[in-house]
Structure formats: C-alpha cells, structure tokens
Amino acid sequence: MFARRRFAVLKDLLEYVGIEPGRLHFSWISSAEAAKFQETVLAVTEAVKALGPAKHMIKDIRKVA
C-alpha cells in the first residue's frame, strides 16, 4: 500500500520524461494466482513488443567514449 503511492509517482515521472507508458506495468498478484501471473507476463511482453526496441535510457558501450 505504501508502494502503491511510490509507484504512482514513479509512473507519472517516467511518463513525464518521455518513457512510453506501455513499458511500465503494475499488477497485484498473490502467490496463489499462477494463472494471473502468466496472463500478466504475456500481456506485458506483448505490450512491450508492440512498442519495439527502447529508444531512451539506452547505453551503448560500443560508442567511442
């Protein structure tokens, strides 16, 4: 419940700097909810795939310096 507040702020902050909303997902899943866990992981994977490769916050150490 404390985390809910922190995540709310984090989510808004990342959207504010231009990270696409679809890259960040939150879900309540109990350890007993195997099916929901599976569904959520699939949904997240689909959503991120649909957005394509990340464009921001990518460090490429092949670059010169």
Partner: protein, 323 residues
C-alpha cells in the same frame, strides 16, 4: 519592509546575544562572498565572529543542509538563519529523525527572494561582472567597462517567484517583520513544464536540459534532503548507475535523485544555485511535487504534524494504473 541590510544588522545582534549568553555554541548564517552575488555559509562561534554575518538577496545556499552534516561532537546546539524554505527543510529533517527540534534555535526571517546570478550574467553576455550591490528594489551591476541598474524582481530565481511560504513556518525568534507569504506566482502554472509537450518530444527536452551535466553532484550535495551517507549513485555493489558521461547514466542519476526527493522537496532552489553549468533541475523536481499535491494533497515541510506522503497510505489512493 526592512531592507536586507537592516535585517543583516539584526541577525548580527541576535547572534551576538545568543553566543554571549551561551544559548548556542554556533550560529549558522551567511557571510559576504569574495565574488559578486555569492554569499557563503558562515559559522560564527564567538560574538566577534558574529560580526561577519550578513543577509542579502545573494544567500542562495540552503543552510539546513549544514544541520545534518556536522562532524560529531562539534557544536551541539546551533542557531540557524532560516527563511521559509529553509525552515520547511528543518521541519522535514525533524520529521525524518535527522535532528531534534531542541538542537536547533531558529532565527526566522522572511525571504526577500534570492537573485539568480546566471540571469544577471546573461544580461551581460561574456562580460566580467566585478560587483553587484542591492539598492532598494534594484541591483547595481558593475563590471569591466560598464555599470547598470537592474530591477531585482526581473532576476530572481524561478523558484522564488512561485514560493508558497516566504516566512518561516517554525522559529524561535523572528528577525524583522513577516512579509506577504508569496511573491504572487502560482507554482501549479509553471511546474512540470514538459507536460505541455507531446509525449514523444519530452525525452528530447529532458536531454537538452541535462546535456551539460558534469556529474559533480553539487545539486545533490547542496540539497538538505540528500543526507544519505552513501548515495545510490556511488554504491558499488550493486552499482545502480554507471559512472560515465553517457546520456543514459546521466539521466539515471537525475531521475533517481529527483525521485528520492519526492514528497520532500521544498523547492528551495539550492540545487540550481549550486550547479556550475546552470542546469535547471527544477523542471524535474517541480513535476514530482505537483504530482504529490494532486495525488495526495501534500506540500512538504509546512508543519511538524502531518505525515510524509510516501510513508503513509489511504485505502482509496489512486490505483487505476495497477492491473
């Protein structure tokens, strides 16, 4: 309204009295700097040293920062000169159990609004400014080959225009009279400037704002919220954040630092004033505090009683984003 020079004289008198009566071991205030528009934090231990204290529109450090970083055993009871934002940070430090109310004697003062030295310099590009003095509502700016008057209210720090509380929220003694609580600006109108941008334009705006960062961490070290002994950016195992100038590493530092200050930032502007390359990190922090106001109706440091917003919850807190 008293002039800052009059306030300065009263601060000196109060400091001398507190030190000679033995009420405090040290008075933390400002002394006149050796370069224009840069007064510096000064620690007076004797009535004689208290003569060096000053007050002006060039007092841009947040003195509450020095309440938490003092070496052990040095001056247990201190007095501190605190305007609105600084007093709000003192409240925050008390709430976060970094200091106790009894440890600190607050010499409250109404903030006149501090001058942004970068703005003044920008009026005289590439010119060398040698002296700046206050004259009522104007600054007299002298430089190599010029002398001009500038209206002070044109060159205040951005955060000072939208200050929500110029008067100290807690104090042991008021120096001078209280002023109107605000300068009239509305923070909600100017906070979070990139919200106006299309989502795909925001990253570029963010990068542009922080592109000159040299990672000196002056913003962090000038901030009274950043009292962690080892900051996440310095942690080695695990290393949360790369040490290079790569934009991803720089962005990680600034986003996470801003996030760590969520619900705590008083918008004192010390970070921007400390930055050697003029980065406006309030474009980031102002968004978070606006968000906190909208979501949880909280403004940091206004009183000793209310609970920090990220340390409590309500059953009906917003959660549409959680699936």
């Amino acid at each position: 309204m008293s002039t800052t020079q009059e306030i300065a004289a009263q601060i000196r008198e109060a400091a001398k009295r507190l030190l000679s009566e033995g009420k405090v071991d040290c008075v933390i205030g400002f002394a006149q700097g050796t370069v224009p528009m840069r007064e510096y934090p000064y620690f007076a231990y004797t009535p004689e040293e208290a003569e060096n204290l000053t007050w002006s529109r060039f007092c841009c450090n947040n003195l509450s920062n020095f309440l938490v970083r003092r070496p052990k055993g040095q001056a247990d009871k201190v007095a501190i000169v605190a305007q609105g934002c600084v007093s709000r940070n003192i409240v925050g430090l008390i709430k976060e159990n970094q200091i106790t109310r009894e440890q600190v004697y607050i010499l409250g003062v109404a903030s006149p609004g501090m001058v942004d030295r970068n703005k003044v310099q920008a009026l005289f590009p590439l010119k060398t400014i040698t002296e700046v003095t206050e004259d009522g509502d104007e600054l007299i700016v002298k430089g190599l080959g010029f002398e001009e008057r500038v209206p002070t209210k044109k060159v205040l720090r951005q955060n000072c225009y939208t200050c929500v509380m110029r008067n100290p929220v807690i104090k042991d003694e008021m120096i001078g009279e209280e002023s109107a609580p605000t300068h009239g600006g509305n923070i909600d109108k100017v906070a979070a400037p990139w919200e106006k941008l299309a989502p795909e334009e925001r990253w570029a705006a963010f990068q542009e704002t922080f592109k000159d960062c040299i990672r000196c961490y002056a913003c962090r070290d000038a901030c009274p919220l950043c009292y962690c002994h080892v900051c996440f950016v310095d942690e080695a195992r695990p290393q949360w954040c790369g040490k290079t100038q790569d934009e991803a590493d720089v962005a990680t530092f600034h986003i996470l630092r801003a996030f760590h200050c969520a619900g705590r930032c008083t918008d004192c502007g010390a970070c921007e004033s400390a930055c050697p390359v003029g980065i406006k990190m309030r474009k980031l922090t102002s968004m978070i505090e606006k968000d906190i106001r909208e979501l949880y109706g909280y403004t940091p440091g206004m009183d000793l009683e209310s609970q920090p917003p990220l340390s409590v919850y309500k059953p009906n807190d917003p959660q549409e984003f959680i699936k």
